[in-house]
Symmetry: C2
Subunit: 225 residues, 2 copies
């Protein structure tokens, strides 16, 4: 193993840098300073330099980093050079939307497997993939799944996670609104849409409370209802 | 303004505690220690106690916190006691899935507005709400929008954010895979699905590199392909 392990927090920021670099490349920009990159990514410059040092990339004093080179380095460390097969389990509204999301394949994440337990769905095709029964997950003739996406109701999410792990999947993206656990060595990322709304709710209600209680609050440029 | 401002990081964890407390309540548990809550929420106990102290809640030594009381406190500080209207802009696959997601209304986030610019969609109904043209966003007779959800392509996301802000919306959940900016006083939360997959890709490829390069790597209980 020649490449050093990258801290989790840095791994979480690399895709943000990549997005900024892709935007810069699209705008014809060829070099970027750590300060510019930090500003566009919303982090501080010292953190950018530290993060990029894990890639063995230190930039050139007075010039900065080559945009193309940095994109290549980040992409390859994230494993984006090779297509990474995604399986989606649970084809309700959210699962179907994810399966139909063109952005995944475009970014190197082809959807290679779709799984459900509903006999009305199994055997039908969605976005070019035939929906298979969940019981076939991990079958030797099944698709090579690198990342499993859980888009099921909360009640069955843990069972699905266990099945994904048993099938050899070690990277899981979980949309179910419940806590699930996975063994060490398996990486779980969680997207909880209701949680995001609850956090936003706090700010909405706090700001409205400010309006109501504090006549001296500064006026805002945006009209309020 | 009588309630103290809660730090952003704490606000981000309150919904996680709420989810744990709801699960505990469902299992008939009536009191919980900070250690138990910390363990179930995946944070440390000192952080739990500090977070809950912002609610003016300190628990009872040797007994812990009342599950019901804590649920009520967190819910009311997050503003979940009153319904918080959500507007979704962009009704492609993702926007339609979000609009049809029953979980939102169940948790106090009724979808009150749907907006698009596609004449084929405007005027049609989805999940009980008629899709309106984006140009009508913020009209005096329009819905009272507390949280705006951006589910558009990246290229128009900034314009949509500007329109939401101009319409008085100060809490935005953004699904578009690009960086957008909002003025101070507006809270933006971002859900970038491709970013999540890119982070998972790193762990998938790192672990496979370990397998390939290191014959002394410990064997895993899960079968690999």
């Amino acid at each position: 193993m020649s490449l050093p392990r990258i801290p989790d927090a840095t791994v979480g920021r690399l895709p943000v840098y990549l997005r900024v670099l892709t935007d810069l490349d699209g705008a014809g920009v060829t070099t970027v300073s750590s300060e510019q990159l930090a500003d566009l990514a919303g982090v501080n410059a010292a953190k950018v330099r530290k993060d990029l040092s894990y890639l063995g990339t230190y930039g050139t004093r007075g010039v900065g980093y080559g945009v193309d080179y940095l994109r290549f380095e980040i992409s390859s460390r994230l494993g984006l050079a090779t297509a990474t097969g995604v399986a989606i389990v649970g084809l309700g509204n959210l699962g179907r939307a994810l399966a139909s999301h063109r952005g995944f394949a475009d970014r190197g994440f082809p959807v290679v497997g779709l799984f459900d337990v509903d006999d009305a769905k199994v055997g039908t095709e969605l976005a070019g993939v035939t929906i298979a029964h969940l019981d076939t997950l991990g079958a030797p003739d099944g698709p090579a799944v690198a990342i499993g996406v859980i888009a099921t109701p909360a009640a069955v999410a843990q069972d699905v996670a266990d099945r994904l792990v048993a099938a050899g999947v070690r990277a899981i993206l979980d949309f179910a609104p419940t806590l699930i656990s996975v063994p060490a060595g398996v990486t779980l990322r969680k997207v909880d849409l209701a949680l995001e709304l609850q956090v936003l709710s706090y700010y909405h209600h706090r700001d409205h409370a400010l309006d109501a209680d504090d006549p001296a609050a500064p006026s805002r440029s945006a009209p309020t209802r």
